[in-house]
């Protein structure tokens, strides 16, 4: 059984022992199925992007006219000036720079601390490893809103209020990063040989 199915699934990669007619049919089916996937993927993209699109529509449309017209899915009475207004009123230039600085500091620090800790958890043998790992992962369970008050106090005592180091300090180490890194390096250790022999690549599921 299943030679047809096989041709269908593997498509053009399979040597065509069945003759040109079957191969032609298979190729046509392949093109059709690809077209189907494009349609499906496009529809899904629209769905995922819809909330963002509606936010853009709402941003550039004149608010009263937009509500009056029953909030259409497309912009009306467009005023591109809102971007300039928002930029000036919100002092966004300064905020963006600050965000950039904080992001850079946090990213570098988290990568360093996570990689070091994850390597240790994945490959080094030492006593109390599991207990320490639980201790690290446990911090994932502390919501920011819960630790916020104590951390703001710590930052104030350090004299770091309203500064880049004050904004980033609580986030320089991340249990999430450590957890994720460890998971992937543990897999890599076991998957590496297998992948090396086949070469990795994407394929249909």
């Amino acid at each position: 059984m299943a030679t047809d199915e096989l041709v269908d699934a593997v498509g053009a990669d399979l040597p065509r022992a069945q003759g040109p007619a079957v191969a032609e049919g298979a190729r046509r089916r392949l093109v059709l199925s690809q077209l189907g996937w494009y349609v499906l993927l496009s529809a899904l993209s629209l769905l995922v992007l819809f909330p963002i699109w509606m936010t853009i529509v709402r941003a550039v449309s004149e608010p009263f006219v937009y509500i009056q017209e029953g909030q259409p899915l497309y912009p009306i009475a467009v005023d591109w000036g809102v971007f300039g207004t928002a930029w000036a009123d919100g002092d966004l230039g300064r905020s963006l720079l600050l965000s950039l600085a904080v992001t850079a500091v946090i990213t570098v620090a988290q990568v360093v601390t996570s990689v070091l800790a994850a390597y240790s958890f994945a490959f080094v043998r030492f006593p109390f490893k599991n207990a320490l790992f639980v201790l690290v992962v446990a911090t994932l369970l502390l919501p920011i809103e819960v630790t916020l008050v104590a951390n703001v106090r710590t930052i104030r005592e350090l004299g770091w209020l309203d500064s880049v180091q004050g904004l980033s300090a609580p986030f320089l180490a991340s249990a999430f990063g450590i957890f994720l890194d460890r998971a992937s390096s543990a897999c890599r250790a076991s998957c590496a040989t297998r992948r090396a022999s086949t070469g990795s690549g994407t394929s249909g599921s």
């Binding site: 494009y38 320490l132 819960v146």
Partner: protein
């Protein structure tokens, strides 16, 4: 074998352990300052109630803990939190999985679709909340009067809030599932094909079992996100209507002044203990059952 060998082995083991601890040090030191210290303060506030001026404190002891954890407020918050998990975790997982299965194939331009599906990763919780404020807000939202997610009615408000989290989590779930799919070796799929497995059987017998560590990780992460949801609630409903969207974190955050911080701290510890037990149970049970592909 010489007699010195066991000692040498012990020595190298000690050195390896020291190396392991040294690698952990930077991360752990930071966590100590910004996670364990706040946790310690929670414990303190749970046992000692500060007076109204913050100048002194009285010991209230464990009775405070049992009072709060057994109280109606905590139970209400817990139930609302659990409902929030039910709305967000399975939906988020299935959506991310479906998107990843759809976008994991050889097609020209597939990277564009993968980029779009993962795009919600780039939004913060606050941005997602503002985005959905424009969609589901009862006064000005485009879908403000859709009954199923109506924020102005206490039966449906939580679902409206949950929508925000679901959408925002799509990107992360998608990226992680896609990475998991790409890690599955091609020859397993080919072997299943040669065995005459159809697409459905391939999905349930090959792909999903091999994906189970990834899915397990996601369930844990999504549950933790759900337990901690705060920003969408603060922005969309402020806990209302009639307290119907007051999750535990929301209740805790609203109890920070000296008169209430003791109660808030006990709730926070309760939430922490609960999340801890649930996560630990998930990790140990699922760890034993998931397929790690060795």
């Amino acid at each position: 074998m010489s007699e010195a060998a066991p000692r040498r082995r012990r020595q190298s083991a000690a050195r390896e352990a020291l190396f392991g601890y040294a690698l952990l040090l930077p991360g752990l030191a930071l966590l100590a300052a910004f996670a364990y210290y706040p946790l310690y303060r929670l414990v303190r506030f749970a046992l000692y109630r500060p007076n109204r001026f913050g100048t002194g404190e009285t010991y209230v002891g464990l009775s405070n803990v049992t009072d709060v954890l057994g109280g109606q407020e905590f139970r209400d918050g817990l139930w609302i939190t659990v409902k929030y998990l039910i709305y967000t975790v399975p939906t988020g997982l299935v959506l991310g999985l479906l998107l990843a299965l759809a976008a994991h194939r050889k097609l020209k331009g597939i990277k564009v679709f993968q980029g779009i599906f993962s795009s919600t990763v780039a939004t913060s919780v606050a941005v997602a909340s503002v985005v959905f404020f424009g969609l589901v807000n009862p006064k000005v939202g485009k879908f403000g009067n859709v009954a199923f997610i109506d924020l102005s009615r206490s039966e449906s408000a939580l679902r409206g809030v949950a929508l925000t989290s679901i959408w925002q989590n799509i990107g992360l779930t998608f990226v992680i599932v896609l990475a998991g799919l790409q890690a599955i070796p091609d020859q397993l799929r080919e072997a299943a094909l040669l065995d005459g497995f159809g697409p459905v059987r391939r999905l349930f017998r090959v792909t999903l079992p091999l994906l189970s560590p990834t899915l397990m990780f996601l369930v844990v992460v999504l549950m933790i996100f759900g337990f901690q949801a705060f920003a969408p609630i603060e922005l969309l409903t402020q806990g209302g209507p009639a307290g119907s969207t007051e999750t535990l974190v929301f209740k805790i955050f609203r109890r920070q002044d000296p008169g209430q911080i003791s109660e808030g701290s006990v709730m926070a510890l309760g939430l922490f203990a609960l999340t801890f037990v649930v996560t630990l149970a998930q990790l140990t049970i699922l760890n034993r059952r998931v397929h790690y592909g060795d």
